[in-house]
């Protein structure tokens, strides 16, 4: 099944076509933008544009090369993204990484709508070694070869293991002559400064809601009904990924957030009862979302308060500054949750902090 076309980004694409035609595309590019706006899809589009048989420019979509790119089968387009850590013998890890990546790409060929990478997946060193090996070879059929590296911030899976990112440095600085690198990331600050300094950054913006809605109506199977598509596009703030991820249980998350805040309000006994009711593992799943939703609830309260709107919100008696502090507490707690701290401990601490703030 070929990939869906690129939605939106018309201005950016027009600009890129000009750059492609002028043969001025920088060899090491960083696509930078919010999650779910189609950065990697745009990277593939660029690859097709570089390799199109009618010369660099807007990919025609009909030539052999373009069709191969759209079906993720072009031998000169190398797409890497976070995968599970290779487990095997060290000498075989590169082969193992190649295999894992191959399977993942096959899966994307079947279903091009993929979600966010698993929290434990990353671009580990064997993957970079594989990339080195491929970068040393000549292009198989095209003029150039293109390396697309998605979620590049995962080159540093955690602060203590920067091997993979460092191994990219030399090849990014002086890529082999017929090679293009396109990295994508949501968080350029999470890249090593040495990596960032070697890339030409290009910002990818949020999409207009109309484009998101059109995507929802046309691409997924089963298609989303027009009315719901509008609705979901509105809430997704210009991110197709967010619109796709919006789940049926969005209400449940909000309710869980309400329960959390309610427990904080009700005094120590209720807090600990609530904390004990939380799972003691799996901080990085729904729990993180609950914390985020609670922060959003307080944010709405705060916004309403500052606008001077009376009534309707739960924390009318709490000074605005305390709400600000409370939001900060929730954000910190979310940081811990992402670091996989036991949710019970987080909740116990968080609810107490919120209670002390008088929420």
């Amino acid at each position: 099944m070929p990939l869906h076309p690129v939605y939106g980004h018309e201005a950016l694409r027009a600009r890129l076509v000009g750059t492609l035609k002028a043969h001025k595309l920088p060899p090491a590019l960083l696509l930078l933008g919010p999650p779910g706006v189609g950065k990697q899809r745009l990277g593939l589009w660029l690859a097709a544009g570089l390799l199109c048989e009618s010369g660099p420019g807007e990919p025609c979509g009909t030539c052999h090369s373009c069709r191969l790119v759209d079906s993720l089968q072009h031998p000169d387009v190398h797409w890497s993204f976070p995968v599970a850590r290779p487990k095997g013998d060290e000498s075989k890890q590169v082969e193992e990484a190649e295999e894992t990546l191959g399977e993942a790409i096959a899966a994307r060929r079947e279903n091009p709508l993929y979600g966010r990478p698993d929290g434990l997946h990353a671009l580990f060193l064997p993957l970079v070694r594989l990339l080195h090996r491929q970068a040393m070879m000549r292009p198989v059929m095209g003029r150039v070869k293109v390396f697309l590296v998605g979620d590049a911030e995962r080159l540093v899976p955690q602060a203590s293991s920067q091997e993979a990112a460092n191994a990219m440095l030399k090849v990014l600085e002086e890529p082999p002559p017929d090679t293009h690198f396109i990295l994508t990331t949501t968080d350029s600050a999470a890249l090593l400064p040495t990596i960032r300094s070697r890339l030409v950054p290009l910002r990818v913006r949020r999409l207009p809601s109309a484009d998101v809605a059109r995507f929802l109506r046309e691409v997924p199977t089963p298609a989303v009904a027009a009315e719901e598509a509008e609705h979901r596009a509105e809430a997704a703030l210009g991110s197709i990924g967010d619109a796709l991820e919006q789940r049926e249980d969005a209400g449940d998350v909000a309710a869980a957030a309400e329960r959390l805040l309610e427990a904080a309000r009700r005094g120590p006994a209720a807090r600990y009862r609530y904390a004990l009711g939380v799972k003691s593992f799996g901080a990085r799943s729904d729990f993180t979302e609950t914390l985020g939703a609670a922060a959003e609830l307080l944010r709405d309260d705060l916004a309403q308060r500052l606008r001077g709107a009376a009534g309707g919100h739960t924390h009318a008696e709490v000074p605005a500054e305390r709400l600000v502090d409370a939001i900060r507490e929730l954000d910190r707690a979310k940081g811990w949750a992402r670091g996989n701290v036991n949710p019970q401990l987080i909740v116990a601490h968080l609810t107490r902090a919120l209670g002390e703030l008088g929420l």
Partner: protein, 591 residues
């Protein structure tokens, strides 16, 4: 094939190394005098010329023009044009100059391989073998250890150059290496130097570039020449026409000066309600919030400089002028607090999955800073008033150190929570006490002339009749609260009944067997406290028996619950450690 500007304009001579003259001079001198060391360690931030310097050194040592005695730009410089120089400069294959990526060849086997290769002589008489080991901080401890011997005594005409952004990692993993290498530290390149170089490159590329645009890029590059050239690459690759500030801003997701001016307005006029629409506009416009937060640092730094009477630099000239105009409205103390809040929020803005929310709360916090501002002003007022009070109070009783401590606390850290404790007995009771201990001018005299810390009004010390004491009892309670809130809450429910011969009888008013219980249990400490406040020793008695008898029913009912509360309260008072533990762990004392 398009070549990145940073590669195309990589310097070919020591003289072109911008901002690193100290390194260039030393290396050039070493080559000219034939005193090249066998091992170098080049350290410094990204994009300032470490690898380039290593290559120029290798070029100079192996330059064919030089070895023929031909003309080079200066003694010790490579010619930059001969085939050897060209090959080395472009990082291409060269027999004698080997560039190694330590990040992908970091193990002990790679180091052994390097050691083996280094044993072979250079390809021709008079040439040097140069090993450039880049990203050297990634070498493992074992790899370094395998290199120790050869680094100490390498074969003749073999030179090692290590380049790294993180020398501290090398000193951690392989300290003995450091003493075997000559270390050079590269500096960040100053914005002016970067802007000049950008203008030069733009001219060489036949690009029209605004001076302001170059300055803006230089500022964003943050000391990295390569970063600056990457941005210039970006601006020229994705668009036509001259390089303008507007295009640079648009591509980098930066905001124009107006946006910052609006923020100044929101904060200065405390328009917290405007924060959410403001941030919404930023997000709508696709602004990079992280870069925006960086810009906020520059903005407030300039405001601080301006309000201290300096020149606001680090921002554009137009914004600087506006800042200078508005700076008087913002006290330096506020700006410092704003900057501190920004410092705390910087990490969350980068790391948080929701930078928008962090930014919103940060801006709201700034806009709500008013209360702390008022206190700062109050304190300043108090400070100017303080000397007068002091004179009127001369001859007062001895000072109470405990009173002074909380009084100076708000000056050191003017935060709202500490305020109630600083209240005094003055008529305008809301004012904090004069921070005598903290006002620089009065430090000496505060120590020399001890007096009651009650500034202004009548001191409490003259109250020797029961009527006088009753009249000012509320003040006594307030003063007591500043020291011992728990005792004060007992006193609050009492009233002086009689006073004579140093014995003060307190009558319990209102409810509360709790108060009676508290009085009897904390009598000794009450006596101390009142003695201190009133300036004369007192014995405290209660009119308890009669009062308790008068309301037996109430007393009975409350006792069960209330007395226990009071007991635990007294317990907390008696054991400060327990008290803190209770607070810190949010425990509830049951018995």
């Amino acid at each position: 094939m398009h070549l990145a500007l940073a590669r195309k304009y990589r310097p070919r001579a020591f003289a072109d190394l911008i901002g690193q003259e100290h390194v260039a001079r030393a290396l050039r001198g070493a080559v000219a005098q034939g005193r090249v060391a066998h091992g170098y360690l080049l350290c410094g931030p990204r994009g300032v010329g470490k690898t380039t310097a290593a290559r120029i050194l290798a070029m100079a040592l192996n330059c064919e023009t030089r070895s023929r005695g031909g003309v080079t730009p200066a003694p010790g410089e490579p010619c930059g044009e001969c085939p050897s120089c060209e090959r080395i400069w472009s990082g291409g294959a060269s027999l004698d100059v080997v560039e190694i990526d330590a990040a992908s060849n970091r193990g002990v086997d790679d180091a052994r391989d390097l050691r083996e290769r280094a044993m072979y002589a250079a390809s021709a008489e008079g040439r040097y073998k140069v090993y450039i080991v880049d990203e050297a901080h990634m070498l493992t401890r074992e790899a370094w250890n395998a290199l120790l011997k050869i680094l100490e005594e390498p074969p003749p005409r073999v030179i090692f150059v290590f380049a790294t952004t993180e020398p501290q990692k090398i000193s951690n993993t392989a300290a003995p290496v450091m003493s075997r290498l000559q270390r050079f530290d590269f500096r960040r390149v100053g914005p002016h130097a970067i802007a000049e170089r950008l203008a030069y490159v733009a001219a060489a590329e036949h690009l029209a570039a605004e001076g302001d645009a170059c300055t803006l890029i230089a500022r964003v590059a943050d000391g990295g020449m390569r970063d600056a050239l990457s941005v210039l690459d970006q601006v020229t690759a994705f668009g036509e026409g001259p390089v303008t500030t507007a295009r640079v801003r648009e591509l980098l997701g930066l905001v124009s000066d107006d946006v910052y001016v609006e923020l100044l307005d929101i904060v200065a006029n405390r328009r917290a309600e405007a924060v959410f629409p403001y941030v919404a506009t930023l997000v709508e416009a696709g602004v990079d919030l992280v870069a925006f937060a960086d810009g906020l640092g520059d903005l407030w730094r300039a405001v601080l400089a301006a309000s201290l009477g300096g020149a606001p630099d680090g921002v554009s000239a137009a914004l600087g002028a506006i800042i200078r105009e508005r700076a008087p409205a913002l006290a330096p103390g506020d700006t410092l607090r704003i900057l501190r809040a920004l410092g705390e929020a910087e990490e969350p803005i980068r790391r948080s999955g929701n930078p928008r929310l962090v930014l919103e709360t940060l801006l709201v916090r700034w806009a709500l800073l008013d209360r702390t501002v008022d206190i700062a002003e109050l304190l300043r007022e108090e400070r100017t008033d303080a000397p007068t009070h002091r004179r009127t109070e001369e001859g007062g009783p001895g000072p109470t150190p405990e009173r002074r401590a909380p009084a100076s606390a708000p000056a050191a850290a003017p935060r709202p929570p500490s305020r109630p404790q600083a209240r005094t007995l003055e008529d305008s009771g809301a004012r904090p006490a004069a921070p005598a201990g903290s006002a620089p001018a009065s430090t000496g005299d505060a120590a020399a002339a001890p007096h009651s810390s009650v500034p202004g009004g009548e001191p409490l010390t003259g109250l020797f009749t029961v009527e006088a004491l009753r009249a000012r009892w509320a003040d006594v309670v307030t003063a007591a609260r500043a020291e011992k809130p728990v005792l004060a809450s007992i006193l609050e429910d009492t009233e002086p009944e009689s006073l004579g011969g140093g014995a003060l009888v307190l009558r319990v008013i209102g409810r509360s067997a709790m108060t009676a219980e508290g009085l009897s249990r904390s009598r000794q400490r009450l006596e101390e406290l009142l003695g201190r406040l009133l300036g004369a020793p007192v014995r405290v008695g209660t009119q308890s028996a009669a009062a308790a008898a008068a309301r037996p029913a109430t007393a009975e009912r409350v006792t069960a619950d209330g007395a226990r509360t009071e007991r635990t309260r007294a317990l907390r008072e008696k054991h400060p450690a327990l008290d803190q533990a209770v607070d810190a762990l949010d425990l509830e004392l049951l018995e």
